[in-house]
Symmetry: D2
């Protein structure tokens, strides 16, 4: 993993981007979760009329692949900004959740 | 960053968890984006009646802090699983998006 | 249509229910649209892992039928409360939209 | 209430509109709830960066008022189409829910 693709570095770039535009007052946790859910819905919109089979082939069309990738980036951007303002470590949160799920739902 | 908290390693753990339970047939891109948006809404639900000021203090209550962290983990889990099935690198997608936004929206 | 099932009467009952509990301060348009989207996602949650075919049979299981009907009621409740606070007539809004769509997208 | 603004009549117009364009195969319950949640999120998008006070004044700007009214129509359109394919009476569902809530949560 290059330094550019480090979660903490991406959070720093997002914070600097927002600060340079004086967006911090808008970035309350309440607003960030709303924005996160809106971006997640923009992903859903791409898939809403597709059959399961069509949805599995979505990356074979370059334009749709670009749209999907772009919306994934938007979801991750708001998730990381939310984690920044709430001081949550997203990777640690997920690792803890997987640990918990492995105990709660043992594999058959 | 410890190895446990590496995105690729978390994706591998999520994939193994799903495979051990034979969940892959359910994990179409269409279903994963739906699940992602449902988890994002569960985050919104925590904040929906809060004032902006209350939303900024949400981590000071341990129970709410735990719920928020847990939902953040769920959102990230589905986002990483979606990226896995679509072969998208989420950190590269976000880095490219920030690059693009920096060109499109120059800081004042 | 009986008087009980009149949109305006349902809006009046919802407004009285909220007023009796002093919920009006929470019922800003911003909060009501968040609540509406959360309820819509609770509907999605019921369907998220179903195949298209399973989704078409969802009312044949009485428990699921009850859950779906209940979530439909919740979505409609927040939509009507939003319309009340914004002074929007939802049926007129929809009739106008259908008119517009019939002009914009002539049937083949 | 004029006949044009009757829920059943709006459902009939929506069904005819969809049938004339051969959209019924896309209108599975699963797809309709996804579309409903996407439209609800488009409402959220209008409000996501507004303060509670700004959100209360949203109808005073004619363009925003038009956007909000249009999205309300879209949410209602998918809700009524969902109810049609699932044979749910939305107004009866809401009346039953209000009855239930009045028993479960007596006013103080």
């Amino acid at each position: 993993m290059t330094e550019d693709l480090d979660v903490a570095k991406l959070q720093r770039r997002l914070a600097e981007f927002a600060a340079a535009r004086n967006w911090q007052p808008y970035h309350t946790p309440k607003n960030l979760v709303a924005a996160l859910s809106v971006e997640a819905s923009e992903l859903v919109e791409i898939f809403q009329w597709l059959t399961p089979e069509e949805s599995a082939r979505v990356m074979s069309d370059p334009d749709t692949a670009h749209r999907v990738t772009d919306e994934v980036a938007d979801v991750l951007a708001y998730l990381l900004q939310l984690c920044e303002v709430l001081d949550i470590d997203p990777l640690a949160a997920l690792a803890a959740k997987i640990d918990r799920n492995e105990r709660r739902f043992p594999a058959p």
